[in-house]
């Protein structure tokens, strides 16, 4: 059963934990502002996630037991590690991209390990079809990651990170409404940490007079992989439809609206607002469809439970 009060505590704890960590590490002058903020972002998000999942009491097994376990114990730590390595100045841009692409190629295989989707575990797809599925899934992730990082270099700002937060939040709720409560709940600390790290890094960047918001690339990387991982689990192991999954995955790309001629040289707040509004439109549609399906299929089960408890008569 969903536990809203627990979810709220987890969101608050992970947001505060992440913000304090970024502030503490980013505020100290122990390296150049750029490197320092990037590292502070990654470690702050990591710390926030640990706090958030601890408060949420989300149990996971080692060795990983299912898709969500693999997401929490392999995918999230790995993306944090990759973005941490990429944050250091001596690492060239192509080196960071090599790491990201290799990781993007391996994520679908890791998440589907031991499931019916892989031929070695005996069923649903023939070898060639499984291979094509893995290839397409990796390609989608790499494309999304690359397009959002390109956009962040062309028009720096926090709107991409905020749009990722919107998409991840929508994913969590949709997965929950589709009946996979634990999978949906796993999205909440991710949203809270990314949101608080984005806000804090924006403020600290301004405090040090930086032109760009340092650390945004790291946040985008973590956000994209989190969004992708949660959607992947929701689609392959839960009951997310292909249409909803694609809409939520690609909704942050609507931030590219800032690159059309009419929007250039407009006020940053105006462009940012438009970006977030556009991203929110498909997400709202997906969420209302999920709510409709929930009311039709799942709600009768819950309401009958409540009646039996004397809670809803």
């Amino acid at each position: 059963m969903p536990e809203p009060w627990l979810y709220l505590k987890s969101i608050v704890a992970s947001a505060i934990g992440s913000a304090l960590f970024v502030l503490a590490l980013g505020g100290l002058r122990w390296s150049s502002t750029e490197t320092r903020l990037k590292i502070a972002c990654v470690l702050g998000i990591g710390f926030g996630l640990v706090v958030g999942y601890y408060v949420l009491g989300l149990q996971f097994a080692w060795p990983p037991f299912n898709g969500l376990d693999r997401f929490l114990t392999i995918i999230l730590p790995a993306v944090l590690m990759i973005e941490l390595i990429a944050a250091f100045e001596p690492v060239p841009s192509w080196g960071a991209w090599l790491l990201r692409l290799s990781f993007a190629a391996s994520i679908p295989r890791i998440l589907l390990h031991g499931s019916v989707y892989l031929p070695s575990h005996g069923t649903e797809l023939p070898v060639w079809q499984a291979g094509v599925t893995l290839l397409v899934c990796s390609g989608l992730l790499a494309s999304l990651w690359w397009l959002l990082l390109c956009l962040s270099q062309r028009s720096p700002g926090v709107s991409i990170c905020l749009s990722l937060c919107l998409a991840i939040q929508c994913t969590g709720l949709t997965v929950m409404l589709a009946g996979y409560i634990k999978g949906g709940a796993a999205a909440l600390p991710v949203v809270a940490t990314i949101l608080s790290a984005t806000i804090v890094v924006g403020l600290v960047s301004k405090r040090f007079g930086a032109v760009a918001n340092f650390g945004i690339a790291s946040i985008i990387g973590i956000g994209v992989v989190s969004l992708y991982g949660l959607l992947f689990i929701g689609y392959f192991f839960g009951r997310l439809s292909a249409g909803s999954t694609m809409a939520m995955l690609f909704s942050p790309l609507l931030c590219w609206v800032s690159e059309i001629a009419v929007m250039r040289n407009r006020a940053i707040w105006l462009v940012g607002s438009l970006q977030l509004t556009l991203v929110a439109i498909p997400l709202s549609v997906v969420l209302s469809l999920a709510k409709r399906d929930f009311d039709r299929d799942m709600a009768p089960l819950l309401y009958s439970d409540r009646r039996a408890n004397g809670l809803d008569l």
Binding site: M1, E3, N66, V116, Y117, G179, Y180, R239, M298, L301
Partner: protein
Amino acid sequence: MQRYYKLFVLTLAIGTFVWSVSKSASAADEYAYDLVHSSVSFKARHLDISWIHGRFNEVEGKFSLDRENPSKSTFQLTIKTESVDTANKARDEHLRQPDYFDTKQFPTIEFKSTKAKAIDGGYEVTGDFTMHGKTKQITLVLKGGKEHTFKDVKRVGFSTELSVKRSDYGFDPKAIGAIGDEALILIDCEGTRK
């Protein structure tokens, strides 16, 4: 010509000997699970006031019965979790999700015997029971074992009940909620042999 005739007779004699020896060595009768006349059902407490019933519609299995040496008998059963059926489509979909059976990750529930002995009115069978990716050794009391031949098909039937705690098999404790932790699995099966 006579040489070839001797060779033919010798081959025939050896072949007959080997066939008769192998037949007498495997005294066990092999039976296939008869899906039409068998059922694997379960029930679990709901809010600790009543029982919810369900069944698995797709089951495979085989067993061999050695009447002379019962310890050589073997039993094997594979239940497809995707086929869960509680007479409510929405609930079945919910049960297939990762919070419960996680059917895409764990498509089967399996039992494979490792030890068997004859008891009064059936067999006591110990074996590995795998559910939700976790394997535990359990002992089943199979009642029955009577044979009946109908239209040239030899049949044998068994019944057993098994109580499992879902939390012992890695089910999320938070998902247990209104449905009790303990579930009773009821197996009534017929095996056929032509």
